[in-house]
């Protein structure tokens, strides 16, 4: 039988292609240290995917690489191997694999990992990003939207509210950069963001609004910490946004046709 292209692994590959500019700039500026973090993350995530394949017959996915990249880029610095392994294990297993693998998870495993590391080891400093890395989030988003793998409404909603907040002067530049990187890596995940168009617009807008709120009201928080916290709260709210958008859609249809 003939079949199309967009199975799970194609989407994962396209997402990887979208993240490539971001990853390359980050590796180029971060040098061997960044490479080491990425290697460690990939290794730990891959081992857990293999374990779930052998024990639960759950096919591994290339999305493991995107998770590893997000964790390596955004995790607090100088954690040491043991803490990293612990955090990634918790995030990947509890955030994704126990639900049945990529595509069935409800939160992004990288978001869970980063929140776990942030809450668990608050003494470690969050990373900061150089300008080129942050700017590379723009081509990443463009590739993602052009291939249809990143939800365009999420990005648009976030950019709209973010631009308004930046114009109002409540988003300092470091927060803006960190929020942009977290937006493409964590929030614009096709699986765990809201699934309806309206829900996605609100999802993106909510993320940007939370970032703006934390940037003004959370004294002493690092930019990446703000972005990760906003991403976690947004992804927890996504099902609610979907539910509301669906209720609205169904009510609209009922009004127009008298039934659904």
């Amino acid at each position: 039988m003939i079949r199309g292209l967009w199975n799970r692994e194609t989407v994962a590959l396209m997402l990887l292609a979208a993240y490539l500019p971001l990853a390359l700039f980050w590796l180029w500026l971060g040098g061997s240290e960044a490479l080491g973090r990425l290697g460690l993350s990939v290794l730990v995530v891959a081992i857990w995917h293999l374990v779930f394949m052998l024990v639960r017959a759950q096919p591994p996915s290339l999305a493991a690489l995107t998770t590893a990249l997000a964790v390596a880029m955004l995790a607090p610095e100088d954690l040491g191997v043991l803490r990293m392994v612990l955090g990634i294990t918790f995030g990947v297993v509890m955030g994704e694999l126990v639900f049945g693998g990529w595509g069935r998870n409800v939160v992004n495993p990288a978001t869970v990992t980063l929140s776990f590391l942030g809450f668990g080891f608050p003494a470690f400093a969050w990373p900061a990003f150089d300008d080129p890395t942050a700017w590379a989030a723009i081509p990443a988003a463009l590739i993602g939207v052009a291939t249809g793998t990143m939800p365009a409404p999420v990005l648009a909603g976030a950019v709209l509210v973010g631009a308004a907040a930046a114009a109002g002067g409540i988003l300092p530049e470091p927060v803006l950069f960190a929020a942009g990187i977290a937006l493409v890596l964590l929030v614009a995940d096709p699986v765990t963001c809201a699934a309806t168009t309206l829900g996605r617009w609100i999802n993106g807008a909510l993320y940007a609004a939370l970032v703006a709120l934390f940037a003004t009201g959370w004294a002493g928080a690092a930019p990446v910490q703000i972005a990760v916290a906003a991403a976690l709260l947004t992804s927890l709210a996504a099902p609610l946004l979907d539910e509301a958008a669906l209720a609205l859609w169904i009510a609209n249809r009922r009004r127009r046709h008298g039934r659904t």
């Binding site: 039988m1 199975n7 994962a12 017959a57 096919p59 049945g100 052009a146 249809g148 096709p190 699986v191």
Partner: protein, 420 residues
């Protein structure tokens, strides 16, 4: 997929064809029930008996008014019934001569008489109802009828082409269809001039222009957008060409059996457009144009067709694809990496949304389908859809038959739950 306007244009390889249109009656033909439905029948002809074109060869056991008729004049060669006297197929051999069954159209001016005529002339199986699909019940009154003068499936013949020179029959058919329902008759067509003068088709006729991308011309998507079907709200659909055939039947008493059929696919030497009849023998139709080598004959489009020997009752496309040769079994590790725990989840992409023409929330709908959540799926419009409407999503997700079979299982479950 960065496109404006809903839908996709999937492209499949197929050789070019010439514009010449032949009329072909195959040497053998079969009368079959609509796809996927087993119907209890009473044969009305014996094996070996001569029948005229349009003569009834079988009728429904519990509704003897509804007949299946012979698409060509010939001899009944074989009647195959499944256990429980369900119709499998009735094969006819063509005989020389052009005996044609003439139907009495005297009482067709009343709704009951028209219904009787359509059922007796064998036009009833060309109708299809939603929800659940299949031929409408004998006495059912639809809430609306969709006349499909658009077909956006790959390689589909252009319905505008088929209606050339038959405008009068078409308008007569539309007026007749309006007698069957209290609701609207909705004509879905491609852009351009209206296919029928709005006044000529009756006062309840609505003409709707649909886009050129698949699935905008898919019946279920049209039903979903224009007049959603419900458990108590049956919606029928009929092809524009069959509507013109109904018009001709009313005028002459003879039901025209031929229809425009497109033969395409990558295992052909040349594509072909021809006029043939339902139940035509696909082997004969493709014999001279198939490329050497193993191939499969499918009745229907590459997206939603099925392997068959005979052209299915409502189909207007034949697809010829190379036969996939089963390769060696992959290494167990490769199999574990790629095949374990299927079906794999669908990842929401822009392409998936477009595969439903962006008319419904695709991701919640697919999640409701795969989770077996009937209530949510019904709220999202599953009752308007049939297999052919989700075939494009199956193709896009690269999971042939998965959504299609899930949808069928859900519809059967809903039917049995709500029938009680």
């Amino acid at each position: 997929m960065l496109s404006f306007g809903a839908g996709l244009t999937p492209e499949f390889p197929s050789p070019a064809g010439n514009s010449h249109i032949d009329e072909v009656f195959t040497e053998e033909a079969a009368v079959r029930p609509p796809v996927g439905h087993a119907l209890h029948v009473t044969p009305l002809a014996q094996e070996g008996e001569l029948v005229a074109q349009g003569a009834a060869v079988a009728c429904l056991r519990h509704a003897p008014d509804v007949c299946f008729t012979a698409p060509l004049a010939g001899r009944v060669a074989r009647i195959t019934l499944l256990p429980g006297r369900k119709l499998s197929e009735i094969v006819l051999f063509r005989e020389p001569g052009d005996a044609v069954e003439r139907h009495d159209t005297g009482r067709a001016s009343t709704p009951a008489g028209l219904r009787r005529l359509m059922q007796g002339a064998g036009l009833w199986p060309w109708l299809r109802r939603r929800p659940f699909g299949g031929m409408p019940a004998h006495g059912e009154t639809p809430a609306a009828i969709l006349v499909m003068a658009t077909d956006t499936r790959p390689f589909a013949p252009d319905p505008r082409h088929t209606l050339q020179g038959r405008e009068e029959d078409f308008a007569r058919g539309l007026r007749a269809l309006a007698q069957l329902t209290e609701g609207p008759v909705i004509l879905c067509q491609q852009g351009g001039a209206p296919l029928v003068d709005p006044g000529a088709g009756g006062d309840r006729l609505r003409i709707v222009t649909r886009g050129a991308r698949h699935p905008q011309g898919s019946t279920g998507i049209c039903v979903h957008q224009l007049f959603p079907a419900g458990l108590e709200v049956p919606v029928w659909d009929i092809h524009a060409e069959d509507t013109a055939a109904l018009g001709a039947l009313l005028a002459t008493g003879v039901l025209p059996m031929t229809r425009l059929v497109q033969i395409a696919g990558s295992a052909l030497r040349e594509a072909r457009t021809l006029r043939t009849h339902p139940g035509a023998d696909l082997r004969q139709l493709t014999q001279r144009i198939a490329a050497p080598g193993p191939h499969v004959l499918m009745s229907g489009s590459p997206l939603d067709g099925h392997t068959a020997q005979w052209l299915a009752p409502r189909h207007r496309q034949v697809t010829v694809l190379p036969r996939e040769i089963a390769g060696r079994k992959p290494h167990w590790l490769v199999a574990a990496l790629t095949q374990s725990a299927s079906p794999k989840p669908a990842i929401p992409t822009a392409g998936l949304n477009q595969a439903f023409g962006a008319v419904l929330p695709a991701v919640p709908f697919i999640r409701a389908l795969s989770a077996g959540d009937d209530e949510t799926a019904m709220k999202l419009g599953v009752l308007s859809l049939l297999e052919e409407d989700v075939a494009l999503a199956d193709y896009v997700l690269s999971a042939p038959g998965q959504l299609t079979s899930t949808l069928r299982a859900m519809l059967e479950r809903i039917r049995s739950e709500f029938a009680a």
